[in-house]
């Protein structure tokens, strides 16, 4: 009998439970108190610190690190959470190497920045372990705001609105809140059901009612929300997935990476998740990396991520690319898919090398075929079901100022809104700022 790892096809149980448990553990274990003190001591407490500027939520990083260094991690957590209520998740998933830690002066000095992300996790973990919620609501305003989507943008917006004394109803399409924190993001970045624990902790502020199964355009409509509520915030993310547009795309096991990641996050038993022996991931973002790495961790023997442009153009950071390669994932750059092969069963993907000519990406005649029994498409997500009357900017909702849309009384933020990187931290900043703007607009 062939060992499960070396059996062709897409099948569950390639690895035993013990190895799977090990593979999907916290990829970056938290600092212990002593490690945190030592790491905190490396912070220079810069004047007008570059790390703050680099953080989309503008957390006062030198202050919170000094609070850790002086033995008050809960005060540090308050500093973090007052700017970024999802500071716990951001500590786990932020590409710090391209944000705060890239700006850290010790990165310039030694190529070794202060471990800001890990310190943020240390502080927020300490506070959340107490179970207490550090913020209180202002006196009730009598206003109620509708928030569409319980992802990072919606939750940040709802929490800030609740703090201002407003009531909030969140309309969420899925059975759980958290958005991509719950359904996206590699499992080893958010272990022990952290997304749900953080959500429960956030809701302790009070005044936030989440209603599930409420997809915009299906169960609810924007005009109805506008009529019924004092303001509306749209933070429904990007529900659609881009198609490759190549022959064979409809074969079994040519799947969307986001669905794979979501299934994996929701799986009770990882050993029951089917995975190919040879897996090809097409794309160059975090979704591609998360899908590729997790395919490998599930027991795929051979995983290749193929990106149509060069390494430097990849939206996944160098750090993430290195992480994938350390886990045994192969990365191929400058190749675009031209066909998914197989007479019936999927057997491979054919790629053509690409070149940039006059600033345009051109597919050459030089092709190669990677054998595969499973393909994950990770070439981006799109906004679906845009309500009528909303002005778009490109393929996303156009916003001005702090997330104001073209419709009066309607704000938007997060991945569905134009501008900003599609990052959890950016979504939090946009949701928070929209909430402040909504508050100003409602209270005069």
């Amino acid at each position: 009998m062939t060992a499960p790892q070396r059996s062709d096809g897409v099948m569950p149980g390639r690895l035993g439970p013990a190895i799977l448990e090990q593979n999907f553990r916290d990829a970056y274990p938290p600092l212990n108190p002593h490690e945190a003190t030592v790491a905190a001591d490396r912070c220079y407490f810069c004047h007008d610190a570059p790390c703050i500027t680099a953080c989309p939520t503008e957390i006062d990083i030198p202050l919170f690190i000094r609070q850790i260094a002086t033995g008050t991690p809960k005060a540090a957590a308050r500093t973090i959470l007052s700017q970024n209520i999802l500071g716990g998740m951001c500590a786990r998933v932020c590409p710090t190497e391209t944000l705060c830690e890239q700006a850290c002066v010790r990165e310039a000095a030694e190529g070794k920045p202060v471990e800001i992300g890990q310190l943020q996790r240390f502080a927020t973990d300490q506070l959340m372990a107490t179970g207490a919620h550090p913020f209180q609501r202002a006196a009730p305003t009598g206003k109620t705001i509708a928030v569409v989507g319980a992802g990072p943008a919606g939750l940040a917006c709802a929490h800030r609105l609740a703090m201002h004394g407003h009531d909030v109803v969140i309309f969420e399409a899925k059975p759980k809140g958290g958005g991509l924190n719950e359904y996206g993001i590699a499992a080893y970045k958010s272990t022990e059901d952290f997304a749900q624990r953080e959500l429960d902790w956030l809701l302790q502020i009070g005044g936030i009612d989440i209603r599930h199964g409420q997809r915009l355009g299906v169960a609810i409509s924007l005009p109805a929300l506008q009529t019924e509520y004092d303001a509306v915030f749209l933070g429904m993310g990007l529900g659609g997935v881009n198609a490759l547009g190549v022959p064979g795309e409809d074969k079994d096991h040519a799947e969307d990476a986001v669905a794979f990641i979501s299934d994996l996050r929701q799986a009770d038993d990882l050993a029951a998740l089917p995975i190919g022996r040879r897996v090809v991931v097409i794309g160059g973002g975090m979704t591609a990396i998360d899908a590729g790495v997790q395919a490998k961790l599930l027991g795929a023997e051979d995983v290749t991520i193929v990106y149509r442009r060069g390494k430097e153009a990849m939206s996944a950071s160098d750090h993430e690319q290195d992480h994938a390669q350390r886990k045994g994932v192969r990365l191929i750059y400058n190749a675009a898919p031209v066909g998914i092969e197989g007479n019936g069963r999927l057997t491979g993907v054919t790629f053509a090398y690409t070149e940039t000519r006059d600033g345009k990406l051109v597919v050459t005649d030089d092709t190669f075929t990677l054998p595969a029994d499973q393909v994950f498409k990770a070439i981006g997500q799109t906004l679906e079901g845009v309500p009528d009357g909303l002005k778009l900017d490109g393929r996303k909702i156009a916003v001005s100022g702090a997330g104001a849309t073209s419709l009066d009384g309607v704000w938007a933020g997060g991945d569905c809104a134009a501008g900003g990187d599609d990052l959890t931290v950016t979504a939090v900043a946009e949701g928070r700022d929209a909430a402040d703007d909504i508050h100003r607009s409602l209270m005069g």
Partner: protein, 434 residues
């Protein structure tokens, strides 16, 4: 190779690194191992009079302060003198000295402040063959409450009196160990010299409370909910010790009196600094208590390398070399004008120099929107704070203005001539230069 041997009061040792009178030198077992590790000498932990030994507390004896990664910066202790029988100590001293004739063996003593007590113990010490004695006039806790230790060291008349008794009843060198818990260290140093001391050693530990336990509201180290002041030592006390050594070295009344330097010596460099300020050797305790006896190897190799690089052939070449440059503030050259210079290639743009200067000094550093920090010569008073807060080695330095250059802050041309406060026109006491 530089010659590290020292001759201190005629006592030869292979290097200037002695272990100070303290827990590391409390018994034969430790001292033999210290000598095997390479220490040049030891001052045996203080002996008391014959009779029932002292008792120590049975809870924590040490308190500490730490830097990052728990680097020990300062230690204090509430331990007393040896709590082992006098006879045991004397026998061990004799045995160890016999086996290590090339190492210095000094015996620290503390007995009640009466002539008979000293007269009784000194012959016993002499019989051991030890090379000399050190009078513990510094211990700041416990023994001082009984009229010994710092209680003697803080009264120059007592220092002189006891020193004289020891010189009367003991033939070999007498070193007087001084307490820093006094307003002017020169008083007891002069008294020791007047009493006939062959040398002084300093500093003993500093009265201190290392921390307060904010849960129990007790000083640390805490014994059953209460605490007392202890003797502070370790790297944190070095600057205080260096100053006191220098004060004695340059005092006309004590100039030339041999000094054994003590206080936070942790590396070869610390030792070299003490010696440059007049110490003929150094005594070490906290560094050994933190890292073990092996640390002496770095001290020996480091001092040796530095002396070779500087062309100093023997330790005698460095002792006291910096003393002529220790002066009073009023003699500092007011025509020596410097300006801070920021090396833009080394700058990592942390802005600490800017925050320090802007918030707490002379608003002499500018910050551009793209975080370029520059010194404004018309405001810079050359205080050096930016140099001290900059986290990058040699990024900010002080440039000396040459005679003829204009100090943009004052608008005056830099003069070549030395001029100090004693002749400055703003000084009401100024004397015209002759």
């Amino acid at each position: 190779m530089a010659d590290l041997t020292t001759d201190f009061l005629g006592i030869k040792s292979p290097n200037p690194f002695w272990l100070a009178s303290a827990p590391p030198t409390d018994k034969e077992y430790n001292v033999r191992r210290a000598f095997e590790a390479g220490w040049g000498g030891v001052v045996w932990k203080t002996l008391g009079s014959e009779g029932p030994p002292v008792v120590n507390v049975n809870g924590p004896r040490y308190g500490a302060i730490w830097g990052a990664d728990r680097r020990l910066l300062g230690l204090n202790n509430i331990e007393l003198i040896t709590d082992r029988p006098l006879e045991t100590n004397l026998e061990e001293i004799a045995r160890v000295k016999a086996d290590y004739p090339d190492r210095a063996m000094i015996v620290s003593l503390m007995v009640p402040c009466d002539e008979d007590s000293w007269k009784a113990i000194l012959p016993r010490v002499a019989e051991t063959g030890a090379d000399g004695i050190e009078l513990n006039f510094g211990c700041p806790h416990g023994m001082s409450e009984r009229g010994m230790g710092a209680a003697v060291g803080q009264v120059p008349e007592y220092v002189e009196m006891v020193t004289r008794w020891c010189k009367t009843y003991y033939d070999k060198p007498v070193i007087v160990k001084l307490t820093p818990n006094i307003a002017d260290i020169r008083g007891p140093a002069r008294a020791a010299k007047n009493g006939g001391a062959d040398a002084v050693s300093l500093i003993n530990t500093i009265n201190s409370i290392t921390a307060v336990n904010l849960d129990s509201m007790s000083p640390e180290p805490m014994i059953d909910g209460r605490g007392t002041h202890g003797g502070y030592c370790g790297p944190a006390v070095k600057p205080i010790a260096l100053n006191m050594v220098a004060e004695i070295a340059r005092d006309p009344a004590t100039r030339g009196l041999p000094i054994s330097g003590i206080g936070g010596v942790t590396t070869w460099r610390d030792a070299a600094e003490f010696m440059a300020l007049g110490a003929g050797n150094v005594q070490v305790c906290t560094a050994a208590m933190t890292y073990g006896f092996k640390i002496v190897q770095e001290m020996i190799s480091g001092l040796s390398q530095w002396m070779d690089e500087k062309g100093y052939a023997s330790t005698g070449d460095i002792v006291g070399r910096a003393v002529p440059n220790v002066t009073d503030w009023q003699y500092l050259n007011l025509n020596h004008i410097t300006k801070a210079r920021i090396n833009q290639d080394l700058c990592i743009k942390c802005g600490r120099c800017y925050a320090a200067c802007e918030d707490t000094s002379h608003q002499a550093i500018s910050m551009s929107p793209d975080r370029v920090f520059e010194v404004m010569d018309d405001e810079c008073v050359a205080c050096n704070l930016c140099v001290n807060v900059c986290p990058v080695d040699d990024c900010i330095t002080m440039e000396v203005l040459q005679p003829g250059q204009v100090d943009e802050r004052t608008g005056k041309v830099v003069e070549e001539a030395y001029a100090n406060w004693t002749t400055h026109p703003n000084n009401p006491m100024a004397k015209a230069a002759e």
